[in-house]
Every structure is written in C-alpha cells, then in structure tokens.
C-alpha cells in the first residue's frame, strides 16, 4: 500500500504531552489520544484557511441585477 492509499498515518508527539492528553480525555467522548489530536488539528486547520470570495465584476453586476428584479435589493 502506498502512502497515498493509507487512510491513517503516524505522527510523533512528546510522551509527557501524550500523557497529559490521556488525562484530559478521561470521561469525555474521545476514545484515544489520536481521536483527540485529530479533533484539535481539524479545528485549527479550518480556522487557518484563507477566506476568498471570487466573483468577477460582470458576474457581480449580473447577480445584483437579478436580485433587484426580484425585489431582494433596492
């Protein structure tokens, strides 16, 4: 199986940090250090991604025209 085909991979974190995570997840819905780490990373990655809005001027004018014709914009 190639790296690309693998569904999961292994990362290394310091053992004391892993121990803290083990303590932190006791009694929560997280089943493992991996599950917790995945959750936190997904949260961080999503907030880091750039916000882009890409409409050309022509598209935007066309859109505004339709919105006006339907009464959504004055």
């Amino acid at each position: 199986m190639t790296e690309e085909e693998k569904k999961y991979t292994t990362i290394s974190i310091p053992t004391p940090l892993a121990n803290k995570v083990k303590e932190r997840i006791k009694g929560t819905g997280f089943s493992s250090v991996s599950a917790y780490t995945t959750y936190v990373l997904r949260q961080i990655i999503s907030t880091d991604e750039p916000k882009e809005e890409a409409f050309s001027k022509e598209d935007e004018e066309r859109i505004k025209e339709r919105l006006r014709s339907l009464g959504y914009l004055d």
Binding site: Q43, S46, K51, L67, L73
Partner: protein, 376 residues
C-alpha cells in the same frame, strides 16, 4: 463572509461555447433520464449549493462518507450524493443527463462502483427498516453508481423561481445588506408562533435571518410548497423587520436522515453564506428512528464545520407567562400548549383554525383560504 464548504464556491455551469459544443454532441452520448429529485441535485452541484462537490460521488468518497462522515479529502459530509446507473453506463464515457426529455447536464463518468444498499442505509440512516422513507428511497436504487464531474447545460425548471436564489446570489445579497452573520432556518411547514419565537431569538444574535423553505418531494400529508411560501410572506410582511430577513427556497428532497441530514442542511446553508443554522428538536427526523437531540449532538463531531448550530430543545406557549417559552426560561410545567406542526395539520384537517397563541391570524387566514393544503 464565511468561506464556502471546502474553500471554494463551485460553479459547474457550462460557458456559452462549451454548452454549444456539448449540446452538439449530446445525441451521440449515452442518455440517462433523471427524476425531479436528481435534477435538483444536479442543479445544487452546478450552482455550488453542494460545494465542494463538482459531480456525483466517486467510489472513494462514498466509502469514506459511509465509514467516517467525511469525503476522501477529510471535508465533513454525511449524506451521499450519488447517481445510480444501469449496467450500460461505463467508466470513461460522457453521458447526458436528461430531465423531462431536455438535456440538463453532461457527466464525465470517472468511475463506476457498487455498494451494498443495506450497509448504505445502516450507515446513513442507522437502520435498514424499509418503513424509513430514506431507506425506502435507497432500496429503489440499483446499487451501481457512477461518479464524476458534471457540466450544467440547462438549469432545472425550478418551482417558484421568484423565490429561488443561488449561493452566488445569497452571498452578494448578504454582503450588500452588510450582514456578517446570518442564521438560516429550514422549514417544511407554515409558521406557527413557536417558529417565529425561535427565529427571532436567533436573529437577536445575528445580523440577518434566512428563512429557507425546502422545495421538493415531501411525504403525503405534508403542507404544499406554495402554502408554506404564502404563509411566510404574510408573516414577514406583518411581523418582521424587512431589512433583517430574506425568504428564499432551497431545492431538496428530504431523506429524513435526522442528525446526518442536519449536517448536510448546515453545509448547504454555509454555502449560501450563513454563519449559523437553527437546529430544533428531532431536526429532519421521522418516526422514532432518532433521539430528540441527536441532531444537536452530532455537531460536536465536526470542529471544522465552521457554520454553527443554534440548538433549541423545545418550545411551547405558557398561559401563565403569556408568551412562548422554552424549558430553560419558564418554571411552569402545567397547562403548556406545545407548538406542533402535527397539531396544526390536525386542526386544518378538521376545518378549524389554530388559536392566536398557536398561529398568527394573518397566517391562519392564508391556510383557511386555500383548497389544496396538503400533499396527496
């Protein structure tokens, strides 16, 4: 403005030149007729409602969503968007998807895959009970699916086009209105006072409210789409600040998939530019297949969804408070009148109008004036 799901708003509409070329060769392609629900999905893919999807699910995305509620690239997704096909459709070919005889889209078939429909149903709906309406729809599929990008040639002939807004349009509209935060409310019922209470409670914390009735195939006994729109128009006219509310439709056939469908509903509203979505008790549920708050809990599994739920547990009219209440703000547990679409339907069926505490009189009058109120 919130990012589209997956980072980019998809537009799979053919350019004029591309459309002309594809229409010219469409007659030589394998042709597949699609029903209105599938046509809505094609429209939703092409206009970005289902961003980041650019076509129907590949085998990899289907397996990934069934296994872990995420596309192969880890983007959250919960309800598969699939095209079931006959054996004549082969990987590598372009096929034309027709609705009502008209070529709607061309799809480049990148892969053809099969799936066990029992497993599919259990993974998506938590059951393979054929009484579940979502399972019943899956059972009608062939189990052989084609994945690949689509290119839209002709838009779906949408019902109530004057209320239909694409994500590019809602995004420009919200920006022009100066709304940074927008809460979406999905509905398939005329509004009772409890709905209004929930919407206004949510709007207190956001710049705008998108009332977004679902237009599409519904269960027998559900309210007709036209009635839902007329009653909301009346409610907004009499009881809402007009610069804070947009009423527009969304094309989907319900799957009644409860919590997983709640996530799909949130993704679609995120693509429309909403930062929040109202999720009530048993959202998108049916019968007793899901717990009343499963659709609240599931959001905790998606830290990267970005759109946030406003969850409401229950609400009722309290005669002692003299107002709509919920279980967190009212100490009285006797004589509460529960707001219930079922109760409204029962009253209408008996030829009666709901009380003022239950429904605004202007809204009730709209229902009373109509002959065909319910889906056959």
């Amino acid at each position: 403005m919130i990012r589209p799901h997956g980072g980019r708003l998809i537009d799979r509409t053919a350019s004029d030149r591309e459309r002309e070329a594809l229409l010219g060769s469409a007659d030589e392609m394998t042709s597949l007729d699609v029903h209105s629900g599938k046509a809505s999905e094609i429209q939703n893919i092409a206009t970005g409602v289902y961003s980041p999807l650019e076509g129907f699910f590949s085998g990899g995305d289907l397996e990934s969503v069934l296994d872990r509620m995420r596309l192969e690239d880890d983007t959250p997704w919960t309800i598969p968007i699939v095209l079931d096909v006959p054996k004549s459709v082969k990987a590598g070919e372009d096929i034309v998807l027709r609705h009502d005889g008209k070529p709607m889209a061309v799809m480049n078939v990148e892969d053809v895959h099969t799936s066990d429909l029992g497993r599919y149903s259990r993974a998506v709906f938590g059951t393979d009970d054929p009484q579940h309406p979502g399972v019943a729809k899956v059972k009608e599929m062939t189990g052989r699916f084609a994945g690949g990008r689509i290119t839209l040639l002709n838009e779906y002939d949408v019902p109530f086009p004057e209320f239909y807004l694409r994500p590019s349009e809602t995004r420009v509209l919200f920006r022009e209105k100066g709304w940074e935060t927008v809460v979406a409310f999905q509905t398939r019922n005329p509004p009772h006072v409890g709905h209004e209470y929930v919407q206004k409670a949510a709007l207190t914390f956001t710049d705008g409210l998108l009332i977004n009735p679902v237009i599409g195939k519904k269960k027998s006994g559900d309210f007709q789409d036209g009635i839902i729109l007329k009653t909301y128009q009346k409610l907004v006219e009499h009881y809402y600040p007009k610069d804070r509310v947009v009423l527009s439709t969304l094309l989907i056939d319900m799957w009644y998939g409860g919590p997983k469908e709640a996530i799909l509903h949130a993704i679609m509203r995120k693509n429309l530019g909403c930062t929040h979505i109202i999720i009530g008790r048993d959202h998108a549920g049916v019968g007793k297949y899901y717990g009343p708050f499963d659709a609240h809990e599931i959001f905790k599994q998606f830290p990267d969804l970005e759109i946030e739920p406003f969850t409401f547990r229950s609400f009722a009219y309290c005669p002692r408070c003299g107002s709509p209440v919920n279980d967190k703000i009212c100490p009285h547990d006797k004589d509460l009148i529960n707001y219930s679409g079922t109760m409204v339907r029962a009253l209408v069926n008996e030829g009666k109008l709901p009380s003022r505490e239950m429904m605004r009189p202007e809204v009730a009058e709209v229902i009373a004036a109509e002959k065909d109120v319910f889906v056959e």
